[in-house]
């Protein structure tokens, strides 16, 4: 099996994020890390390979490969390196000045072109990036590639030619299955991402990260299908009234709710 994991480098989710004057997220002044939620995707890809590997391990000798695919500025290779040190085999970073400000439509178009090149059987994604939080790229990839879409998976089983997931939706717990190729997105309760071991970190330094431009990929795309008109910092919420509970905290709360007609 050829497995691809799509990852994104994002501003550290603990950092305060601000809009730049160009109507885009200011990425220059914050620490960039591998999107938290993508670590679960890397882990799940490793688990799938381990379950099908004669040695029980991913990597050479498993008969399967895991390629990390990322689109972003060149420094995105730092985030990719973490996925490699967890155990993925190699990585492709698509980087091009023309891709700055890409929206989900552009991102899915570019990633789909690379996935098509590689002919992957399974593409694993996180459920969303912690910066843009749209949660639509996996569905868009399925639409562009004609792969089966199995998103928000809480468990994944692969039997070589087909894939089955279970997921929690507003309808209840659903089981879905599809023939390969398929796009899967995984929720964070699916697994516990491993910490890269020292051995893994050393091995990752020797793994190949291929950087590709749009010309290498043979596609072109407009960067965005929408336009930001303006943005403004929301006035900070002023702290309101704070009372200490002196045995009457609950009653004071009730009085507040009634005064605001909330109860």
């Amino acid at each position: 099996m050829k497995i691809a994991v799509c990852v994104k480098q994002v501003p550290d989710s603990w950092a305060e994020k601000k809009m730049g004057s160009d109507g885009r997220l200011d990425r220059a002044n914050v620490d960039a890390v591998l999107n938290d939620l993508d670590e679960y995707a890397v882990e799940e890809a490793l688990k799938i390979v381990e379950a099908h590997s004669p040695t029980g391990e991913a990597g050479e000798g498993s008969g399967h490969t895991i390629t990390v695919i990322s689109m972003g500025p060149e420094r995105a290779s730092e985030a990719v390196r973490k996925a490699l040190s967890m155990g993925a085999d190699d990585a492709i970073v698509i980087s091009d000045d023309a891709l700055g400000g890409s929206d989900a439509l552009a991102t899915s178009l570019i990633l789909a072109a690379e996935i098509k090149n590689g002919g992957y059987d399974i593409v694993v994604c996180g459920t969303e990036s912690t910066d843009a939080r749209m949660s639509v790229v996996p569905a868009m990839l399925a639409e562009r590639l004609g792969y089966a879409q199995l998103t928000f998976a809480g468990s994944v089983k692969v039997d070589g030619t087909s894939i089955t997931i279970s997921r929690q939706t507003e309808f209840g717990v659903e089981e879905m299955s599809a023939p390969l190729p398929a796009i899967v997105s995984v929720v964070e309760k699916i697994n516990e991402p491993r910490y890269p071991s020292f051995k893994g970190i050393m091995a990752a330094k020797k793994k190949t990260i291929t950087t590709k431009s749009l010309a290498d990929l043979g596609v072109s795309s407009q960067s965005s299908w929408s336009t930001v008109k303006d943005s403004a910092l929301r006035p900070p919420r002023g702290a309101g009234v704070k009372v200490a509970d002196e045995g009457d905290g609950g009653n004071k709360l009730v009085a507040f709710l009634q005064e605001r007609r909330l109860a």
Binding site: M19, E175, G240
Partner: protein
């Protein structure tokens, strides 16, 4: 006058209030056409008369329930091609956003998700970066496709009965993923988290005991949420997590109980209209965003408040 398509979301044939909100937004832009993609249209159509809708288009097929979002996006794209609407509005749920994403690809159209407002010129308002920044955007290419968060507008009542049309859908080449079984969600009798107008959440301070949080929620008719600390500890299901990596809620009232209010939690609830916090630590950051804060033990404050409301 131009038409606006809204997608009728439903759970087992029951139409949520959010569809009425879409109709109310849609009316600003044009005549509202509601599109039903379901085998349950007989149950759904009568529920739509409460909303400001002028026309209903029914796409019938068991495939919509069986194939998840791919089938719905495919049908909706065919309706868009026929109707050439001024915009397509969809509720901003996980499912709604995926449908919108696939539709945007099919129609080569721009997509704005998680909007909290849209005006007559299709300028959408979003609240991003955990509610710290307000952004106005427009679609610059194709038919504007916008997903709107529930609880963003007061529902306007409908007048008159909408016309009903059937639309024949082709499922050729539909997404091959099939739902093989569904275990229906256990109905706890509480509203859905992202739809609820009141949310009561518990965090580390509950120490694993959500009973007072649930009791207070039930007195208020509220949904129950949880911080990541509480869901990671296994005290409450992950599906109830509010915050950066969980659900984003924007209710009329949000009550944070025993939640410190780390930036990751605030990102999921900061746009709530009114915020109440109960925490033992007077320095907890949640108080910085709370309209009303009680420094105290939730195990004392909540039961007293529940009793007080029952008497009221």
């Amino acid at each position: 006058m131009s038409s606006v398509l809204i997608l009728v979301d439903h759970v087992g044939g029951v139409v949520p209030k959010a569809v009425g909100e879409l109709a109310t937004f849609g009316k600003r832009i044009g005549d509202v056409t509601a599109v039903i993609c379901s085998s349950k249209s007989a149950e759904i159509v009568p529920q739509l008369s409460a909303f400001a809708i002028s026309k209903i288009i029914i796409c019938d097929g068991i495939e919509f329930e069986k194939h998840s979002v791919g089938a719905t996006a495919q049908a909706l794209a065919a309706v868009v091609a026929k109707e050439s609407p001024a915009a397509v509005l969809i509720t901003s749920t996980a499912r709604g956003k995926e449908i919108a994403g696939r539709l945007a690809v099919r129609c080569d159209s721009g997509l704005i998700t998680d909007a909290i407002d849209i005006d007559s010129a299709c300028v959408a308002t979003q609240s991003v970066f955990g509610g710290s920044t307000t952004v106005h955007s427009t679609i610059s290419h194709g038919t504007p496709i916008v997903t709107l968060r529930s609880n963003s507008i007061e529902v306007e009542a409908g007048s008159g009965s909408p016309s009903v049309e059937n639309f024949a859908v082709s499922f050729d080449g539909v997404d091959k993923a099939i739902v093989t079984s569904v275990q229906p969600a256990v109905k706890g009798g509480r509203p859905e988290l992202t739809e609820a107008s009141i949310v009561v959440s518990g965090g580390r301070g509950t120490d694993g005991n959500f009973a007072p949080v649930e009791a207070f929620a039930d007195v208020l008719g509220a949904a129950v949420g949880a911080s990541r600390a509480a869901t990671d500890a296994g005290w409450y299901p992950h599906s109830h997590q509010v915050g950066q990596t969980g659900k984003t809620v924007s209710p009329q009232l949000y009550v944070a109980c025993g939640i410190s209010g780390a930036i990751q939690h605030r990102a999921g609830m900061q746009t709530s209209k009114t915020i109440v916090a109960i925490n033992k630590d007077p320095e907890a950051p949640i108080f910085e965003v709370a309209d009303f804060g009680v420094v105290g033990d939730l195990f004392a404050v909540l039961p007293q408040a529940s009793e007080g409301l029952k008497k009221a």
